[in-house]
């Protein structure tokens, strides 16, 4: 109950930001050359002006920008994200269809990056300045420097094309009609390479932060206290260092939620995944304003939610924080 209240309060606090983002984007996109009707006509391979004017009227593009914005906001206030021009369905429905793939991808990439980054960071910090540290840090730097889409492409070339071990794309085997566990397995198999691709750069970041944070905490007074108590080094790390060192990592999750969504645009288009990122790309190209704003709305909510969860987590980890 208290958590719910907190969540609501947090949401209320972020509303102005959200509003600014949506209105700003709306106005920005008005400056773009062409509108959704142009994109539609392009897809159809042509059309005549009468029909185009008619479509503009239909999509409500024939009135002034101010009126359009006013209408949009009015609808938004009623929690209506509007109608998608590309898909001819309510935006909320379109987004809901695409959300699972993105969420799954983000979550698996995040868990992978977090767990891997943590493990490698701890290892590197404990062997600081010795060869495992050097190796891990170097790998981290290389991961960080790899363009993710390129890694994905090369992954496809090697693992899908040459070796044939992994699928080259898509979310699951279509029409295979798998259900239950078999389907989960199938999805996991399809998401393996995309997850790796998206996670790589974050893994590198987490690794670096974890290493630095471990080294920092290892220098703190209370670690000396713990050692003076006669604790073994392993125990010192487990019981005193780790949790403290995790705090900046947790903060980082919140900070990077937005970046990760951005990264999924590229990854989803490399692997042809039906996710929000690719939808966002398509709606920019197709000038589907409602869908794009809807995605921004949802992803902002997502970022806010992630940050909220991070804060809760932080408060659990750190008793000094009162929520």
């Amino acid at each position: 109950m208290r958590v719910l209240l907190l969540a609501l309060r947090r949401l209320a606090a972020s509303l102005p930001t959200l509003f600014v983002v949506l209105a700003g984007l709306f106005l920005l996109l008005q400056l773009a050359p062409g509108d959704t009707v142009d994109a539609l006509v392009a897809q159809m391979g042509g059309g005549d002006p009468v029909m185009m004017e008619e479509l503009r009227r239909y999509y409500g593009l024939d009135v002034s920008v101010a009126v359009q914005l006013g209408r949009y906001i009015w609808r938004l206030l009623q929690l209506d994200l509007g109608f998608s021009a590309i898909y001819g369905k309510p935006v909320s429905a379109v987004i809901l269809e695409r959300l699972p793939a993105t969420l799954l991808l983000m979550m698996s990439a995040l868990s992978f990056a977090f767990a891997g980054g943590m493990a490698l960071g701890v290892l590197a910090a404990r062997k600081v300045n010795r060869w495992p540290d050097t190796l891990i840090s170097t790998l981290g730097l290389i991961f960080y420097a790899t363009p993710s889409f390129w890694f994905g492409l090369m992954g496809i070339v090697i693992f899908a094309v040459n070796l044939g071990w992994l699928p080259a794309g898509s979310f699951e085997e279509i029409g295979a009609g798998y259900t239950g566990f078999r389907r989960a397995l199938d999805i996991a198999w399809h998401l393996f390479l995309p997850t790796l691709t998206l996670a790589l750069i974050f893994l590198a970041t987490y690794l670096r932060i974890m290493r630095a944070s471990m080294l920092e905490v290892l220098n703190l007074e209370f670690v000396r206290t713990a050692r003076a108590k006669g604790l073994s080094p392993g125990r010192v790390v487990r019981r005193h260092v780790l949790r403290n060192a995790l705090l900046p990592m947790v903060t980082l999750i919140g900070l990077q939620a937005g970046t990760m969504l951005g990264g999924s645009i590229v990854v989803e288009s490399v692997f042809a995944l039906p996710g929000l990122g690719r939808l966002a790309y398509e709606s920019v190209v197709q000038r589907d304003l409602n869908t794009l704003l809807g995605i921004v709305f949802v992803s902002a909510l997502l970022v806010i939610a992630v940050n909220f969860i991070v804060d809760l987590l932080y408060a659990r980890l750190d008793p000094r924080i009162v929520t």
Binding site: L220, A226, G230, L231, R239, N244, D318
Partner: protein, 554 residues
Amino acid sequence: MSAILTIDSLTVALPPGADRPRALENVSLELHPNEILCVVGESGSGKSMTAGAILGLLPDGVQAIAGKILLEGQDLLTLDDAQMQQIRGARIGMIFQEPMTALNPLRTIGDQIGEMFETHTTLRSSEIRARVLDLLRDVHIPDPEAARRAYPHELSGGQRQRAMIAMALALEPRVLIADEPTTALDVTTQAQILKLIRELQQRKGTAVLFITHDFGVVAEIADRVAVMQKGLLVEEGPAIDVLNDPQHPYTRALIAAVPPLVPPPPQMTGSEIILRIEHVSKTYRKGGLLARHRRVTHAVKDANLVLPRGGTLGIVGESGSGKSTLARCMVRLLDPDQGSIRLGDTDLASLSRKEMRAATRRIQMVYQDPFASLNPRRKAGELVAQGPIIHGETRERALARAKELFALVGLDPDSTERYPHEFSGGQRQRIGLARALALGPEVLVADEPVSALDVSVQAQVLRLLADLRKRLGLSMVFITHDLRVAAQICDRIAVMKDGEVVEEGLTAEVFTAPRHPYTKALLASVPGRDWTPPVSPDAVLALADTREFAPQLL
């Protein structure tokens, strides 16, 4: 009585590039059961290194290269890590200086104390819980059950230090090492902790190696004293002897630098009031829009003070009592919520920002932290010249004046080209002073200007201040938490508690006949109040030789 811990010709090497090659040189010490051995010395003399060497917890790159450390006959330097782990905590307990940082902020007190038993015994958790409660009771923490479940940040500094002591003594080690355990605490709390250590030590017969830089504390608690200087043990003996009849010149100098608690006879000051503070209040507000989340601290409540021209007004009080807040209001670093601050006939509190910028040349401030108060990216001379330049002086003239000021505060005038980090703490404090003086202020507000300095340096800076005051006719507001310092330098004293000025009057009167109970308690807590350091002027001169300061100022 045979020693329980013997340090025999211990030499500890520092890594290349450190300020000296050896942290400890040929140090020999004995610690007997049921005694408190105080190790004193200035910062960097190697006190902490001694403790670290005993526990085998020296920093990376620092190594014991010669000598022995015998604990009940066993040489600790020959033990491997696993064996040392058996000894740490179980046979040697340790208390550190900072109660804020020495406890893991993310785990409860009970958990951290219980860990001692988990590590070294096979007790069951219910037994551990009972033992922890007993320990907390032993160290007189109010409501031990609550304290057990509390996180460190939920306890006060004194309570945390009690918890540390409980933890160190959990397994009743024969030896307890305490590295400046009371330095970070207020005097009243310090007095309680010292009493507690004494009490527990006597009850359990523990041998305590007590590290401190404060001779007052030594006088309060020590059975025997060892004095260290730059890694060498220069003097050792029973407390009474060393304190009252020090042999080594260094010891003599150190002790001479300790200000006596008895104020000197009052100086004559005029009756003209230069600074008058009336009904000043300041409240800090923090936090969100919702009333529940707002945090309000009434840092200063209706303060009234007067500073006579040419006089020094001391403001004393415990941490958080509002001393700094009041000082910042005086120079308008903070805008007081209400009240007036009359400097001559101007009310500083009512000036606009622009007017205040012009008025800054009349009232200047000296800061506590010699490291943080100087911009590390500016040359010393520039730092001093900055003020005049801002107020319209030409650059050359201001820099020339800076050189004069350097000489005035006892710095080499040629050092204006150096950067702050190339000076020692005391020297930096002199730069800060020169910067404040450069504008020729009528009033100087000094917020704990000597608290961060070693006693010997502190003595010099205090002397310098007194000297300048006489020569330049400065009026000064002097903030300190050290009553010994206040006694020596201030004509008038104001005692603050929780934002209020609870007592104000001539120093001699306040010290000899305190009226407010809080003032009484404060005075009663001063460590070693019964001991009057023997003063010998030659000792002070001897100390000066060990420093690089210009001797004409002493």
